[in-house]
Symmetry: C2
Subunit: 343 residues, 2 copies
């Protein structure tokens, strides 16, 4: 800028220089006192007084530049409207708050181009690290992930060889939990409403469903399987299509948003839940408990995954040389009224 160094900032707010001048000490002394390192009693007193008098507040950006950290951690999820991500976010926030970090939330819409662009933007170092939960993992992801100069933790499946900290759920087993439960309750005509098969969770849940059905010696009639996206409206529409074609005595849904949509479709169609059709969702979000009847749901441990991911990330931010780690969270089933539990 070439402008002569003034005490105050360009916008007139006090800087260390302002405080130092007022206290009659050097900026170094002022800075030290302000950071609680050293200083004679007299210096401390005068700097504190000066700082208070002018209402000095350190500039976060300047401090970031010097410290080489922003104090920000990014969280990239597909859909911020899905309560499962809210739960995860809360768990992450609780952990990172302890290290003085703030959460920057990105909603990616599951868009591959957007996600990789986000990963590439990490090179700008606008955050100290990122937790990302991609529902599709492409080569572009893997490339951007490994090239990132900033620590990244992936929540979700990732190819074995990718050297990135990783927390994964087991939705395959989760779906099995749901199927086992329904079969044990005597249901045999089990429908399945899934998300897109070209997504990692969609593929895993499809495989899990088919494996579990096979294990029970139950054939999977193509007419009883429907696919939409992971949203309420798609779930409802998919369930409607399914009910048009078949007469299931149970429906497993790939997440709670879909399950709530399916419940809607069932009730509109005049089916009693669980008497005529049992229903099981996945993610075990608040939505499952807010519905009537309450919806049984497979918990994939969203809060725990968030907590673990945050821990991995903070560890790596503290020490970038750590070997990549991989954590697993086991699924569990919350049985509620929609599948015959206690209402």
């Amino acid at each position: 800028m070439g402008r002569k160094r003034l005490q105050d900032a360009a916008d007139g707010r006090p800087t260390v220089h302002t405080v130092a001048a007022r206290a009659g000490v050097s900026i170094a002394s002022a800075s030290r006192v302000l950071n609680g390192i050293g200083g004679s009693a007299e210096t401390v007193r005068r700097v504190r007084e000066a700082a208070a008098a002018v209402g000095y507040v350190p500039n976060a950006i300047a401090r970031s530049l010097q410290a080489q950290r922003t104090g920000l951690i990014a969280l990239a999820v597909e859909d911020i409207g899905n309560p499962v991500y809210v739960a995860m976010m809360r768990a992450i926030e609780a952990v990172v708050a302890g290290s003085g970090h703030q959460l920057l939330v990105h909603a990616t819409g599951g868009n591959v181009a957007g996600e990789t662009a986000l990963l590439r933007r990490l090179a700008h170092r606008y955050v100290d690290g990122m937790i990302i939960s991609p529902i599709r993992v492409t080569d572009a992801h893997v490339e951007a992930l490994t090239a990132s100069p900033v620590p990244v933790v992936v929540v979700g499946q990732l190819p074995e060889e990718v050297p990135v900290d990783n927390v994964r759920a087991d939705s395959r087993t989760g779906i099995a939990l749901a199927v086992d439960h329904l079969v044990a309750a005597g249901r045999t005509r089990i429908g399945f409403v899934n998300g897109p098969l070209d997504t990692v969770p969609g593929a895993a849940r499809d495989a899990g469903f088919r494996a579990a059905m096979a294990r029970h010696g139950l054939a999977v009639d193509p007419a009883t399987v429907e696919v939409g996206d992971f949203q309420y409206a798609a779930g409802r529409a998919a369930a409607e299509r399914l009910l048009d074609r078949t007469e299931p005595d149970a429906i497993v849904c790939a997440n709670d948003l879909i399950a709530v949509g399916a419940l809607h479709a069932l009730l509109v169609a005049g089916r009693r839940v669980p008497e005529d059709v049992a229903l099981v969702g996945m993610d075990d979000t608040e939505l499952a408990q807010m519905s009537f009847p309450q919806i049984s749901s497979v918990s994939l441990g969203s809060a725990e995954r968030g907590q673990l991911a945050a821990g991995l990330l903070l560890d790596r931010i503290a020490d970038g040389t750590l070997a990549p780690r991989r954590e697993h969270v086991a699924p569990s089933l919350a049985v509620r009224a929609s599948s015959g539990g206690v209402r």
Copy 2:
């Protein structure tokens, strides 16, 4: 630090110096080319080539320090789990993305100390501006608000004299819309489940309810009014208490979370909705449409408020001398099955 100036950054990543050295030009020329201003054809070519070769990416923090802006806008809401705030956030994001800003979301929990601390932290200038939607407004808020060196827009009621950009809904009239609708449908024993009366929206909705009832010549039996917080669980519990005491033929709820809770309580109690009891919520969130029956809800224009707030904020960031503005968004009623509409 006293360390000799190296070309690469401390972490080994390329800087403008790296690029300049490789291209054989000054950092000034390199910077200019990188920012697309001037440079001879030859210089441009060499700088571009050097930048590509070393994989140069500008450092966001250094840029922020120089530009005196972070590119970040904070959004502070009470509860990120409430879909109404998700809708608002999406609307805001759509606007601020256009000016290259990112959203930093804070969940305040409606905590006064936390909110004022947040406002005071603005002095650190870690964001370019903030949109805050406090459910309580104290003197501490007003003080922090007016003292903020960074533009702030308040979504919600604010004392007239506070010179801050402000977007407000009219929940008083909104509640009237609900009551009018129920009265027109022949309901007379109208219950009300509200949030805390010491919150701004809680107080406005209480006043609105009483005024509307009075206008219709209906007495407000204290037994038909319940108060909890603005959450699902509280709404359900409050509705249960209300049903223990009285036999309403309609219930108005202060938001959709409460309405979903009340719906649950009604169905558990064996009431038919809307035949026995009509139900109207507020905020017109996805939740209202996802319920069965779908819940009529008063829209307070959350997306529109978010959009307006973002516009006000961007305008003020561009020109801090603007006179404070105040925008109003009118409520409207979405009639659905829960109050006798088409199912």
